[in-house]
Symmetry: C2
Subunit: 158 residues, 2 copies
DNA sequence: TATTGTTATACTCTATAACTATA
DNA sequence: TATAGTTATAGAGTATAACAATA
C-alpha cells in the first residue's frame, strides 16, 4: 500500500511548503484579534526588541524587500503601534520605535502565538524541537547559498 | 551579543516560513527550464504516479482548493503533458493521465529538483534529513488539527 | 554617484461565492 | 439535493524598475 504523493514527500522542500501552508491559517486566527498579520507581527517584534532600527536594516533582518516594508509599517503606524522619526545625522533615514501600545500589543500577541507554536510541536521532546529549528535554519542557509552562487542542478552529476 | 530577531527565531512557524521563502527562488530556477512552477510540478508528479486520478482527489492530495487547480491543469494540458478524459461512469468527473511527454518531463525535472533538494540538507546525515521530514509532517498535522478543532490559544494557560 | 524611502506594477499562491452540468 | 468542474474575484506575499530627497 502506497500513498499518492510518495515522490513529493521525499522532498524537504515540499514538506516545508506543506507545513507552512498548514501553519498559515492557525497563525492568522491567532493574530487577527490583535489586528496583526504574519508580516506586521514579525516587524513589530523586531522593532520592539531594537528601538531605533532603520527601515533598511529591518528589511534585511526580516528578508523583506524595502518596497514591501512600506505598507507593513504604515499598517503599524496608523494605529499608533510604532513611530517613525527622522535620523538626526542622516535625514534620509527613519528610526523606528515601538510605542507603549505597540510593546503591550506584541507582548500579548506573542503569548498567544507561542502557545500556538508550541502546539505545533506537540508530542516532540524539547531537544527534537530545537533540532527541528536548527535544521530549518540550515535549510534556509543552504537555500540562499544555492541561488547566490553559480548554476543550480550541477551538483555532482558525475 | 544578541541578534535582532531572537524572539522570532524561537518560533517553529517563523523558521518554517523563512526556510520556505529561501527555497522558493532556487526551486523556481530549477523548474523554469522545464516550463514548470512549484504547483504544476507537484500536480504533474502526482498525476504521473496515479494515472486516472480525479481532479477533486488530486486537489485533496495536494491540499489545493478545487478552483485553484483548474489553471494549474490548463497549464499542464496546453503543452500536452496531461490529458483530461471524461469518466465513463460519472460524466461530471475528469480522469487525469500524464502523456508520454509528461512522464518524460517530470522524470527529467525530478532529477534536477532532487539534486537541489539534497543540497538543502547539505552537511546533514541521512537520519537527520529523515528526522527533519518527519518533524515537518508532525508540524503539518498539528497545524491542521489546530484550526479544524476549537479555539486556538486556549492551550493550558493554567 | 550611491543610498533611503517611496510609488507603481506584476506574478504567485491562496480562499470564497456562485454558476453549469451531471448525478 | 448533492457533487465535479468552472468562473470570477479578492487577499496576501514577493519581486523589480524608477523616482525624489539626501548623502
Amino acid at each position: 500500500m502506497m500513498s499518492f504523493d510518495t515522490d513529493l514527500r521525499g522532498l524537504v522542500g515540499y514538506n516545508v511548503k506543506r507545513a507552512n501552508s498548514s501553519l498559515l491559517v492557525g497563525v492568522g486566527k491567532v493574530l487577527k484579534p490583535f489586528g496583526l498579520r504574519r508580516t506586521t507581527y514579525s516587524a513589530l517584534s523586531v522593532i520592539a526588541q531594537n528601538a531605533g532600527i532603520k527601515q533598511s536594516d529591518l528589511a534585511q533582518v526580516l528578508a523583506i524587500e524595502r518596497p514591501n516594508l512600506v505598507q507593513i509599517l504604515d499598517e503599524l503606524q496608523k494605529p499608533g503601534l510604532i513611530e517613525r522619526t527622522r535620523d538626526a545625522n542622516d535625514r534620509r533615514a527613519y528610526r523606528l520605535t515601538a510605542t507603549t501600545a505597540g510593546i503591550e500589543k506584541i507582548a500579548a500577541a506573542a503569548k498567544k502565538l507561542r502557545a500556538f507554536d508550541e502546539h505545533l510541536t506537540k508530542g516532540m521532546a524539547a531537544e527534537e524541537r530545537a533540532a527541528l529549528i536548527a535544521a530549518l535554519r540550515r535549510v534556509e542557509e543552504n537555500g540562499a547559498e544555492a541561488w547566490e552562487g553559480r548554476e543550480i542542478g550541477q551538483v555532482s552529476t558525475t
